[in-house]
């Protein structure tokens, strides 16, 4: 909307400068405050001033959208960011623990199976034991009935609610989204999720949030249904790392990044290998092309005209 206003201003200015019969160049020169002698230059400058104030008033209106877009999240230096950097698997393991103990009561991760965790965060035995703790509906059996059994590696992570309606009903109308792809499903996902989880603050003066919602500047609109879930020492890590809010945030986002992009490590290795090999192939192809074309490129054409 602001962009449309800017374009209108520019068009109006261009039209005016043309109707004043000043050449296009003087529009530029009046912009650099080099006023041409005569009233036409002053008029163009005055119009430019009007345009600028128009633009400025647009910007003050646009800042009312600030809360709508949410506070821009900073970029954190994730350990898996580099071109050849892998995930911190200890962090993924801790992050899964945070997810299980803090988040899983409301958020499903229905695209991840227990077997996906093997070799990434847990050994096969550990993953099997974790899976066995849950009850899964299976069937029908030979008598045609559905039955429950302990979980296996092939089962998906359990869902807290049967369906979206149940989830909304239990959370005041808001749906806690599935987290399997959340870091890819939000702009600047990893940084956004970390900033969101650790960014619960008191609202600015003049902003009041209704009962049932909570203020979070990073959330578009500022009012989020989820309360602050990460509190110091909410979880006790197996490896003894102190479970501060920021630590839990980092670990859970590492886990969510892995969940959304489990292929990342293989992708980076493949990318590095193939970009290197294809660069060599490019050099070879360039040499070969120039070799073949050299016949034509080194031709001599003789114009033999007798007048």
């Amino acid at each position: 909307m602001v962009g449309g206003g800017v374009i209108q201003q520019i068009l109006r200015r261009k039209l005016h400068s043309q109707s004043l019969a000043t050449p296009f160049r003087s529009w530029f020169s009046s912009k650099t405050a080099h006023v041409d002698a005569g009233s036409s230059g002053v008029r163009a400058f005055a119009l430019l001033g009007a345009g600028v104030t128009g633009l400025l008033s647009f910007s003050t209106v646009a800042s009312a959208d600030e809360a709508e877009h949410g506070l821009a999240c900073p970029d954190y230096p994730w350990p898996h960011d580099g071109i050849l950097s892998s995930y911190d698997h200890a962090s993924i393991r801790r992050g899964h623990q945070v997810y299980q103990q803090v988040c899983a009561s409301c958020h499903s991760m229905s695209l991840i199976s227990y077997r996906d965790l093997v070799g990434v965060a847990y050994t096969e035995e550990e993953a099997k034991a974790m899976a066995a703790e849950i009850e899964v509906v299976d069937g029908p059996n030979d008598e045609g009935e559905m039955f429950t059994r302990p979980g296996k590696l092939s089962d998906r992570l359990p869902q807290p609610y049967a369906n979206e309606s149940a989830a909304r009903f239990a959370n005041g109308g808001a749906y806690p989204p599935d987290l399997s792809l959340i870091t890819k499903a939000r702009h600047n996902g990893q940084n956004y999720v970390f900033a969101l989880l650790t960014g619960y603050r008191d609202p600015p003066a003049g902003i009041s949030i209704r009962e049932g919602l909570h203020y979070n500047p990073y959330f578009p609109g500022g009012a989020i249904a989820m309360p602050k879930m990460l509190n110091d020492e909410a979880v006790e890590y197996e490896d003894g790392v102190p479970a501060t809010e920021a630590q839990m945030g980092k670990d859970v986002v590492s886990f969510l990044s892995w969940a959304a992009e489990p292929e990342m490590e293989e992708r980076k290795l493949m990318g590095f290998k193939w970009i290197f090999l294809l660069s060599l192939a490019l050099l070879q192809a360039a040499y070969y092309r120039r070799l073949k074309w050299s016949v034509l490129k080194s031709r001599k054409l003789v114009l033999d005209v007798v007048n």
Partner: protein, 69 residues
């Protein structure tokens, strides 16, 4: 292990970054003062609040992960 009190490094860093962001903080406090007596309920200081926290975030961002495992 249990008796060591954990201090959240992010809160700590945000406190230490406050002096770097004094200007937007003062702007925010000035805004709070300006709208104190507002009865209409439409006035708010989100802009200044965002400017301050953006400054703090930029300061904390590169440093935070060095404090974490």
């Amino acid at each position: 292990m249990a008796d060591v009190e954990v201090v959240d490094p992010k809160k700590c860093l945000e406190e230490s970054c406050k002096p770097k962001c004094v200007k937007p903080l003062l702007e925010y406090q000035a805004c709070v003062k300006r709208i104190q007596d507002d009865e209409s309920g439409h006035k708010h200081c989100t802009g200044q609040y965002f400017d301050y926290w953006q400054c703090v975030d930029k300061c904390v961002g590169p440093k935070l992960f060095a404090e974490l495992k």
